[in-house]
């Protein structure tokens, strides 16, 4: 007597298709968290922004200088953030814990383009309003 394997084969096909579908939509990425340096943690604890803007200046060594912009336009230095990953972690905490109006991004002439893009990317990640300005190099004549 010949066994009808048709329905079983079809069920196996459906199972495999559903399995492949779940594999396709599965999130297999690794996540980690970045601890902020002690100085930045302290800064987050003591800072009170109250709808003010932060000035973020990208330097040649990949660091970002933080300053607080007053209503009169003067800036007060707050600290330095080293590297794009630390900057992302810091801005994440800042946007979550503080009432931040926005960030003024200034890029020094000898800072790498990638560092500037990292800063913009960090602002866009947390949907922080940002203004970007590439500082002209003083005395550059060709």
């Amino acid at each position: 007597m010949k066994l009808d394997r048709g329905p079983i084969t079809r069920l196996i096909d459906v199972t495999l298709i559903i399995l492949i579908g779940f594999l396709a939509i599965a999130d297999l990425s690794e996540r980690t968290s970045l601890e902020l340096p002690a100085g930045l943690e302290q800064l987050l604890d003591t800072l009170q922004l109250n709808q003010r803007r932060i000035l973020l200046r990208s330097s040649a060594d990949g660091s970002y200088q933080l300053s607080l912009v007053s209503a009169t336009g003067l800036s007060r230095p707050l600290g330095v953030v080293q590297g794009g990953d630390t900057l992302k972690a810091f801005l994440g905490r800042l946007s979550a814990e503080q009432d931040l109006a926005g960030i003024d991004l200034e890029v020094e002439g000898d800072a790498m383009v990638q560092h500037a893009v990292d800063a913009v990317d960090a602002c866009d990640l947390y949907e922080i309003p940002r203004d970007l300005r590439f500082l002209p190099v003083a005395g550059a004549v060709e």
Binding site: D110, A111, Q114, H115, D121, P136
Partner: protein
């Protein structure tokens, strides 16, 4: 069997016909993950490329530029041809002063400038 081969060939030619061959110069563009995606309008754009050695190459005909004056002249001629936007493809390791330089020329000519960035898939925390 022959029908399957026909289907495969039709699909292959279809993908070839809709593919876009990139004529631009190979440059390591800056990378981002979360910036908003903006599709450029290819009709009104001029492309300026700065490679890893700092060589300025303008347009798809790869005109080499050796100074700000020559760059201004080239952009002014592009503007006369109807170009209103400039797309800058700069190597990610180049200093930002080169972006500032082009930005200055664009401001003088009242042209918009955009920096081309590669978007990689990023997940919001």
């Amino acid at each position: 069997m022959l029908r399957l081969i026909d289907i495969v060939l039709i699909l292959l030619f279809g993908f070839i016909s809709i593919s876009h061959i990139d004529r631009s110069i190979a440059v390591e563009l800056p990378q981002a993950e979360f910036m908003p995606r903006i599709a450029p309008d290819f009709e009104n754009w001029a492309v300026v490329t700065v490679d890893e050695h700092g060589t300025w190459i303008c347009g798809f005909d790869r005109t080499r530029i050796s100074g700000v004056a020559e760059l201004s002249q080239w952009m002014a001629s592009e503007q006369r041809n109807g170009v209103t936007h400039v797309r800058l493809r700069v190597d990610r390791n180049r200093p930002s002063s080169e972006v500032a330089l082009l930005q200055g020329v664009c401001e003088e000519l009242d042209m918009a400038l955009a920096l081309e960035v590669i978007l990689s898939r990023g997940e919001r925390p």
